[in-house]
Symmetry: C2
Subunit: 318 residues, 2 copies
């Protein structure tokens, strides 16, 4: 870690890229790591899964709410969750950072450390990076993954009669956002869930092995993202209200804030749970709980009715 | 293409992502294209080559100098050149764009059209995308590639006794930058070279097949980038001054501006030529011309002497 007073401009582009990509322990799939024109990553079954997500300071994170290391972890997690949502296992990360020249070098180094730490949780390396000047701090991450011979689980395969199940947290990030928005820093469990999501990475490949017909990463809110499955699969999805997992801690936080915990669970984004559909006779993997069913028609309902309390999901522009 | 008065905020995130990734004709290696949590791209030999480069408005491009379509082409080209510099062929592109909500939607659509057009030149698709809000327009591109069973050509394999050769343009982008900086819009050949580089994509795999021992994409300037090969390979590189290709058109532009065309060729970045070293007995591929040799020692010289006119290459922070 460099001097706390050094800026990105002081350290220089190449030196800082070397620090950024100096992952402690390279990933098991890294065949050629950072430092050349491009990296080489294993793609054992002859295919690579790939996705890109961009996080922007002031839009996706605020340093007064989240320290840089947690911002880095979040930037990795949102991409690794997309890989899991295809039923794949991650194999590598690439990161592009644009930031003001006056940015303290330790901020970038801590973001990078967070990226590497989250990557290490799934045993992959940060295999490539770029760093450049910008008035706004922007973190762009690309995740690569392997399907290990399986077909990808898309959003388009849900069939009437399937059951719907979810793995991971729902509404926690929204609760943490509400807490931070009121100027509080606790309870730490919900604030921490907003700062760094905890996607159930292993549940993605497990769902694929269990025969999942469709799957999505819940990034925009459960109802909004199930809407993507319903549209892509041309089916209707109905949730059983009483089966929606609403943790008691969220109920306590909601009560304290005068909010609705169930609304957070149905519409809160950024927890990166995985929602998947399975044939009705399936034994869903242990991380999943059944919350509804797939039928003929279109759209998403709760107990047979459209959900109307508030806005379903959110878009970055609104 | 949308209404010229529509902004990014008017069109909305998902609708615009769909427009961005609606590549005319998907790539031959695209197994699952845009629209899901992640894409799936062929990696026929069980490995994938991957790199990320970030371009920022005001740093890497200016819309008063380059129309959006050409900015998009440049964003693709700089990444595709990195794939070529490993001796690989491109297989797919992913793009993350962060921009102000007030950005006219056609600007983003034209950037995307440029990305897709450059990708189509090498028969690959834009397989994934993300779009989000930012005060600064930032374009992050990830390119994927295939080595088709070959070893990657890194920066570290040059050996004393090797010959040095270069494919592609040198100094053209710097000349175009100088012309635009003086407020001119012509000659169009050099201005066009600055707006959209023309990397010799096919020369990369050709060099690998011809036995290249090291290779690099000339993005920061010939001397600076050869310095990376010399350092990684722990060798010295000497250029023969009279063999440096300096096009007559650059000489004419330099004369008109009171500049030095040879200096542009030696230090100008962003042309994305490919510089490679080959065993001395090699027949270098037709796109390459021999410009020097590799010896014992360290550093880069011209006719045996350090090059001192001006700054060798450039860093974005300076």
């Amino acid at each position: 870690m460099g001097d706390v007073d050094e800026t990105v401009a002081d350290v220089g582009e190449f030196a800082l890229i070397r620090r950024i990509t100096a992952t402690p322990g390279r990933g098991q799939d890294t065949l050629l790591g950072p430092g050349d024109d491009a990296a080489v990553v294993a793609a054992p079954d002859g295919r690579v899964v790939a996705c890109t997500d961009v996080l922007v300071e002031g839009v996706h994170f605020r340093f007064d709410w989240s320290p840089p290391e947690q911002v880095g972890r979040k930037a990795a997690a949102v991409n690794l969750a997309d890989i899991a949502a295809m039923g794949a296992v991650p194999t590598g990360l690439l990161v592009g950072i644009a930031c003001p020249a006056s940015t303290p070098a330790p901020v970038i180094e801590q973001i990078s450390a967070g990226l590497a730490a989250e990557a290490a949780r799934v045993r992959v390396g940060v295999v490539g990076g770029d760093l450049t000047r910008s008035d706004t701090l922007v973190i762009s991450v690309t995740a690569l993954g392997s399907l290990d011979g399986r077909a990808p689980v898309t959003r388009a395969g849900a069939l009437p009669g399937d059951i719907l199940a979810v793995a991971g947290k729902l509404g926690w990030s929204a609760a943490g956002f509400a807490v931070l928005g009121r100027g509080f820093r606790s309870p730490v469990t919900v604030v921490g869930a907003h700062r760094v999501p905890a996607p159930p990475y292993a549940a993605g490949p497990a769902a694929a092995l269990a025969g999942a017909t469709a799957m999505i990463d819940v990034s925009d809110g459960l109802l909004a993202d199930l809407g993507h499955i319903a549209a892509a699969s041309t089916v209707a999805i109905d949730l059983v209200g009483d089966l929606i997992p609403v943790d008691q801690r969220l109920v306590e936080v909601a009560t304290a804030l005068g909010a609705d915990a169930r609304h957070w669970a149905l519409t809160g984004g950024e927890d990166h749970a995985l929602a998947a559909t399975f044939p009705s006779a399936s034994v869903v993997p242990p991380d999943f709980r059944i919350i509804g069913s797939v039928g003929r028609g279109s759209g998403v309902t709760v107990d047979g009715r459209p959900y109307t309390s508030g806005d379903p999901g959110w878009q970055h522009w609104r």
